[in-house]
């Protein structure tokens, strides 16, 4: 497989290999004259999920012509030349295909699509899914390379060390390109990456002395490191891209020790801290970079910097409000004492593609490394933080690289409801996803489908995130409910009856602002149909009643002030509250009912992204 980047012809830099890989000398870029790389895997588009027997529609970027090259779509779904996909799928499963794309300019390249179709009741979603917290069965080969690359950001030439972690005996492994954080060295993550590689995933950890300081060296560019850190992160993104090019050149060369080691179709970028800011930069260009996914670890958000707000202050390029669809995993540390909340937490609000945001309770910024001491109030051990982080990364990569769609239970469904270890919020819409309220319009009195009514509470729409840096420019909003009495209600009313019987679950993204977690009272949902029939769900109550929200006093002493998803199964979790069953095809209202038992400690409940999936 050749290099992956689109662009003009250039010469690939020389490289010096340490360890298992010998001196390789100059390699020539295999790019074609059209600027499309040989063996280009093409951009990756995760399509909206579908359900058997239900109408499906999605669309690829406009302006090009598309045709099916290899693979297949589910029966009943057709691809149209302009990139629209329509129909009614008649079979479930994961469908992956390669399309041939022709731009109006005549440029041709492939594009990969992935479409998951589930049964209408999602009964095909596995009940039990594995954890990868323990080390896998494969032994790991660890080797250091020294590469000379030219950054794609500023064309700066640099030599960089790269530590490779490879699963022994596995060729064509998915590859994670990793960028360290500021103040960290590339070789400080052996435990984390060793565990990931033992599950069959290769990792390349990049030193990059150019973009910002490490633990054992200062940055070559004071400007990038100190004066304009956003440029340092975009530079780090460019270095990662250059290293990935070179690694895939080695991967394609039969004379190299790395020949055939990596799968160019399954390239993931990952970064910690400022390296996470680099990932944010690469996310912006992820289609062009042919990335399969992005992994943010306690990351900087480039929109913290006003210089990155569109149109961008050159040479910084703009970071737009919404992220491209490329699958992403965001891991935040609850007690991060460096990139403090909410810097890492606003990515989920801007997701357009499959996104999972995990806040590990009791974790801090530094403990995913092997050597840096905890900088914040860590209430879990280094080993636990590393194991949990590895678990999520392996889950994410296996889902998208190996098509293990059973892992959707953990990444996008109810696999972590009321989890003691982490707050998990996700966004992975299907063609039938129906959003009832996301507080994104300008009218507080209405939701997406009707009126908002309130009784004995104050309902406001504002960002619950403190406006640090330039983040306020994103104009994010949430629904904030401040109870005024012991029992209070927020009603989302619909203008006309909603047909939701065909949906699997009701999902609410929730958090609260007290210092005592959710244990100041009870939270209930009440669904009401057109005949006045009721269905109840207790999300939380005394002694852990409900079980949809985490209990205070559980592990890690969390105050549970981070967003998490509540998943209510419409078949199994509703309790009738009237003489006649509720008609889910005539739904008229959803009430969020707060019962405040602790007047002293209770604060506000925050709700976002209320939807039927």
């Amino acid at each position: 497989m050749g290099t992956r980047k689109l662009g003009t012809n250039r010469r690939v830099s020389s490289l010096v290999a340490l360890g298992a890989v010998g001196l390789a000398g100059l390699l020539l870029s295999p790019w074609t004259s059209e600027g499309v790389p040989i063996n280009d895997p093409g951009p990756f588009f995760p399509l909206l999920q579908g359900h058997v027997g239900e109408p499906y529609a999605d669309a690829l970027p406009r302006g090009a012509n598309y045709s099916l090259a290899t693979g297949r779509l589910p029966g009943g779904v057709a691809l149209e030349g302009d990139g629209r996909l329509r129909g009614t799928p008649n079979e479930s499963g994961l469908f992956e295909a390669v399309l041939s794309v022709r731009e109006p300019s005549g440029l041709r390249y492939p594009a990969r699509i992935s479409l998951t179709v589930r049964e209408p009741d999602e009964g095909d979603l596995a009940a039990q899914v594995p954890s990868f917290r323990q080390r896998g069965s494969l032994s790991v080969i660890q080797e250091d390379l020294q590469l000379r690359v030219s950054s794609t950001f500023d064309q700066a030439n640099l030599r960089t060390l790269v530590r490779i972690y490879r699963p022994d005996g596995r060729a064509n492994a998915p590859l994670i390109l990793f960028h360290r954080g500021r103040g960290f060295d590339y070789d400080m993550y052996d435990t984390l990456f060793g565990q990931i590689a033992s599950h069959g995933i290769a990792v390349a950890s990049v030193q990059d002395t150019l973009s910002f300081a490490g633990n054992s060296f200062g940055a070559q560019s004071f400007d990038y490191d100190f004066v304009r850190p956003e440029l340092g992160m975009q530079s780090a993104s460019g270095v990662l891209e250059a290293v990935s090019d070179l690694l895939f050149d080695l991967n394609a060369d039969p004379s190299e020790g790395l020949f055939g080691a990596f799968d160019p179709e399954n390239l993931f970028f990952c970064g910690h801290s400022r390296g996470g800011g680099a990932v944010h930069g690469s996310h912006e260009r992820s289609l062009r970079l042919r990335l399969k996914g992005l992994i943010y670890l306690m990351p900087f958000d480039l929109r913290y910097f006003p210089e990155c707000a569109p149109p961008g202050l050159s040479p910084a390029y703009p970071i737009f409000d919404t992220t491209p669809r490329t699958p992403s995993l965001v891991i935040a540390a609850e007690n991060d004492g460096d990139l403090t909340y909410p810097i890492a937490d606003q990515l989920i609000d801007r997701a357009s593609g499959p996104t999972t945001q995990v806040t590990i309770y009791g974790a801090v910024h530094n403990l995913i490394s092997d050597r840096q001491p905890a900088e914040g109030n860590a209430t879990i051990s280094r080993r636990s933080e590393q194991q949990q982080t590895a678990d999520w990364i392996v889950t994410f990569v296996k889902r998208w690289a190996e098509g293990e769609i059973d892992l959707d239970r953990r990444l996008y469904a109810d696999g972590h409801v009321a989890d003691d270890d982490a707050a998990v919020a996700a966004w992975n819409p299907s063609a039938r996803t129906l959003v009832w309220e996301d507080a994104s319009d300008a009218d507080d009195s209405r939701n997406e489908l009707g009126r908002n009514l309130i009784l004995d509470l104050r309902r406001s729409e504002y960002p619950v995130y403190p406006g640090v840096g330039n983040m306020a420019s994103l104009d994010l909003k949430h629904t904030v409910l401040a109870p005024r009495d012991r029992i209070s209600i927020w009603r989302m009313a619909a203008d006309r009856p909603l047909e939701v019987d065909g949906h699997k679950r009701l999902v609410l993204r929730m958090t609260q602002t007290s210092a005592v977690g959710w244990d100041w009272g009870s939270v209930w949902l009440r669904l009401i149909d057109g005949q006045g029939s009721l269905a109840w769900v207790q999300l939380h109550g005394p002694q852990g009643a409900g079980g949809f929200l985490p209990r205070q006093g559980s592990a890690h002493r969390s105050a549970h002030r981070r967003f998490l998803d509540v998943h209510v199964d419409l078949e199994n979790d509703l309790l009738a509250g009237s003489a006649t069953p509720i008609d889910l095809d005539q739904l008229m209202a959803l009430d969020v009912i707060l019962v405040r038992d602790d007047d002293v400690n209770a604060r506000s409940v925050v709700v976002d992204a209320v939807r039927f999936e």
């Binding site: 954080g181 500021r182 103040g183 960290f184 850190p229 900087f300 007690n335 991060d336 004492g337 460096d338 403090t340 909340y341 910024h365 914040g376 009195s445 009514l453 309130i454 009784l455 004995d456 104050r458 309902r459 406001s460 504002y462 619950v464 403190p466 406006g467 640090v468 840096g469 904030v480 401040a482 005024r484 009495d485 029992i487 209600i489 009603r491 019987d501 602002t513 209930w524 009440r526 006045g532 029939s533 009721l534 109840w536 207790q538 109550g541 009643a545 105050a559 419409l570 199994n572 979790d573 509703l574 309790l575 009738a576 509250g577 009237s578 003489a579 069953p581 509720i582 008609d583 019962v595």
Partner: protein, 194 residues
């Protein structure tokens, strides 16, 4: 629920306007029954227990029709008195110094004023924003690092692009490197802008 709510609720019950959720007349089957919803099987949870909780919290008596009961206008934010120890804010340096002292003292009202600016009465919205910005656990970690940088003199004051704007760059080290805090002047008073 306040007195108005209770009165209206009672009126609704008397008029028979409330349906399934209204208080059940004596001798009539309870409003909430363990009957399962929609497609079976439903509610693997202990339904009777759940219903008991529902009743114990008197939620089964909540009206279903909220149209007449609901607050027609969103309740205004409650006004609050200012702190007895307001933060001096006649310069960016004084504002930051006073803010750090108020954080240490947990003086939410003073912090709310620093965030809101000199105009208008303080409201509960201001204190909510100040709590998020200054006193939430992660916010305390942020400001503790700023305080350390100020104490060490490891800060830079930078004029903003606008004449009434200034930036504090606190060199906190670590991954962040620095925190940048924007201040703006409103009349003779400086306020924290971000």
């Amino acid at each position: 629920m306040d007195g108005r709510g209770i009165v209206l609720l009672g009126l609704l019950a008397l008029c028979g306007c409330a349906d399934d959720g209204a208080p059940p007349p004596a001798g009539v089957a309870p409003v909430a029954s363990p009957q399962l919803v929609g497609r079976a099987p439903v509610a693997p949870v202990a339904s009777d227990q759940l219903l008991a909780r529902l009743r114990a919290q008197r939620l089964d008596r909540l009206p279903v029709d909220l149209t007449a009961l609901a607050d027609a206008e969103p309740p205004a934010a409650r006004h609050l008195e200012d702190s007895a120890r307001p933060i001096e804010a006649d310069s960016p340096e004084a504002l930051v110094s006073g803010t750090l002292e108020a954080i240490a003292a947990g003086d939410l009202l003073a912090l709310a004023r620093a965030l809101r600016g000199p105009e208008g009465a303080l409201t509960e919205d201001d204190t909510a924003a100040a709590e998020l910005r200054f006193l939430a656990p992660s916010a305390r970690a942020f400001w503790a690092r700023v305080a350390r940088a100020v104490e060490d003199g490891d800060v830079d004051w930078i004029d903003g692009e606008q004449p009434d704007e200034a930036w504090l760059v606190a060199n906190v080290g670590g991954a962040a490197g620095s925190y940048r805090i924007r201040l703006r002047r409103e009349g003779e008073t400086w306020v924290l802008a971000s």
